[in-house]
């Protein structure tokens, strides 16, 4: 009945928490600077002579690799360190409401960061005549990708009260999610394993599933993949918290 009110209250508090400290602003600035740097300098946006945002989206898995765990690392470790977890979980709130609320708040924050990249969309439309459908698909994929990383960060942050450990663990897991389908790695793998095995491993990678979005394809399988990563990681967060409470 009031699970929605509870989630809303938690989302509000978490978002307020970001903006009450300089963290949010520092993060937004760094995110936008890095996104610009990758797009224009590393991705040679202008030199491509192409009216598309390929050079923008293609770097997102790497850009998020460090930035998303930085946002998610405090989710549960901070609650444990401050002892507020005891407060939160003795309120008439279920564990999953707390998990979903905290996750949703950080995801909204990342969505805001991503929305602030709108000048690249304006730029590419100003300079040429891009396929805006492809761009929208790219954004959808990008936010799903951020959600998947964030759910992983939520899981690792439930494991420890130390934010640094939580950060490093989630970077490692996300790095695996990238490398399993990163071409230089799959190329290397295919020399020692059969193509079928390489394909199975690559199926676990965010790269494999993010690629379609960049081409403007909204494939149900890709959406299901990201949704399952998020679902699985949040479920595991719940299991970890339950086990900790059981002692």
């Amino acid at each position: 009945m009031n699970s929605w009110t509870n989630i809303k209250a938690i989302v509000k508090r978490e978002l307020g928490g970001y903006f009450a400290s300089p963290i949010a602003y520092v993060f937004l600035v760094i995110f936008l600077l890095l996104a610009g740097f990758f797009t224009f300098t590393v991705g040679s946006f202008f030199e491509r002579g192409e009216a598309s945002l390929v050079s923008f989206f293609t770097w997102h898995p790497w850009l998020y690799l460090f930035l998303v765990p930085a946002v998610g690392m405090r989710l549960w470790s901070e609650e444990r360190r401050l002892g507020t977890m005891e407060l939160l979980l003795t309120m008439p709130v279920t564990t999953w409401q707390a998990i979903v609320g905290k996750f949703a708040a950080s995801w909204l924050f990342l969505a805001l960061a991503l929305a602030l990249t709108f000048p690249v969309v304006v730029t590419v439309n100003w300079l040429g005549d891009p396929d805006n459908g492809v761009i929208v698909a790219g954004y959808v994929g990008s936010i799903l990708l951020a959600g998947a990383y964030l759910a992983v960060a939520s899981m690792t942050s439930a494991m420890t009260r130390n934010q640094v450990i939580s950060f490093i663990l989630s970077v490692l897991i996300c790095l695996f999610l990238i490398l399993a389908g990163y071409e230089p790695v799959t190329g290397l793998l295919s020399r020692v394993a059969s193509p079928r095995v390489v394909e199975v491993i690559a199926a676990f990678s965010v790269m494999t599933h993010f690629e379609g979005f960049q081409r403007g394809v909204l494939d149900t399988r890709d959406i299901v993949f990201f949704a399952s990563v998020i679902g699985f990681a949040l479920f595991t967060t719940g299991v970890i918290i339950r086990n900790q409470r059981a002692g």
Binding site: T5, A20, L89, P92
Partner: protein, 243 residues
């Protein structure tokens, strides 16, 4: 209101709480006494539903804490040990958040926050963030949070810890006053506090209840009529406790 039956909590091979049973009715203020590590906080954490017991049953207002936790939790106001609070929130924001999770909206929420602020004398720090508060104010913020929904059951882990003598006196008065129509459990190390505010005392040692009675009954056990003598006679000092 609170019924605890054969509560056991094991952390690995160690029994933190070993077969504890008691009840607290409305109008009772139960003082939890015991040496450090006796199992007071663990018991309170189980009653409030933060950690599940290894075995045993807890009912609050007739609702089973394990099978139907939300209705049970709604009845409880809880002040955890060290009065944790979100460091980056203001006192006002924090109390509003607590009120919201307690299902209070709009005007009712405003009133509830106003009342808790008044009860705990927080007017001066209302818009300060919690990490800038002194220990006493931080503690009172935690207390205000536990009172926000005027709960029928109040559970407080060392509610007067870190307060100055005046504040201690105020909080004891508050507990005693609220105890008239609530069921209250609070833990403390301060024996005079028990005499000042409790209608009943339970002394816990190494996870077991070693005494249960009114302050007067317990005092009668000592020839000099002092609670401290009773406490020291029935609990073992930390130094002897090692395995």
């Amino acid at each position: 209101m609170i019924k605890v039956e054969n509560l056991v909590k094991a952390f690995g091979p160690k029994l933190a709480v070993n077969d504890i049973s008691f009840t607290v009715e409305r109008g009772e203020v139960l003082g939890f006494l015991g040496p450090n590590g006796a199992g007071k906080s663990t018991t309170m954490r189980m009653i409030t539903g933060f950690i599940p017991p290894t075995s045993g049953r807890i009912t609050v207002g007739g609702h089973d804490m394990l099978e139907d936790p939300l209705p049970a939790k709604r009845l409880i106001g809880y002040l955890p040990e060290n009065a944790p609070g979100y460091a980056d929130m203001t006192v006002h924001g924090f109390l509003n958040f607590a009120a919201e999770l307690r299902g209070l909206q709009g005007e009712a929420r405003k009133q509830a926050v106003g009342r808790a602020v008044e009860q705990c004398f927080l007017q001066n720090v209302l818009y300060q963030t919690i990490d800038t508060l002194s220990k006493g104010y931080k503690h009172r913020t935690g207390l205000a949070q536990s009172l926000i929904h005027d709960p029928e059951v109040l559970i407080m882990d060392e509610p007067t810890d870190g307060l100055d003598p005046n504040q201690k006196h105020e909080v004891r008065g508050l507990i005693k006053h609220m105890g008239e129509n609530k069921a209250i459990i609070f833990s403390t190390h301060i024996l005079e506090e028990v005499e000042a505010a409790c209608t009943r005392v339970i002394i816990i040692d190494r996870g077991r209840i070693v005494a249960n009675g009114t302050p007067a009954e317990l005092k009668a056990r000592s020839p000099e009529g002092r609670l401290e003598d009773v406490f020291r006679a029935i609990t073992l000092p930390d130094t002897v406790k090692g395995h």
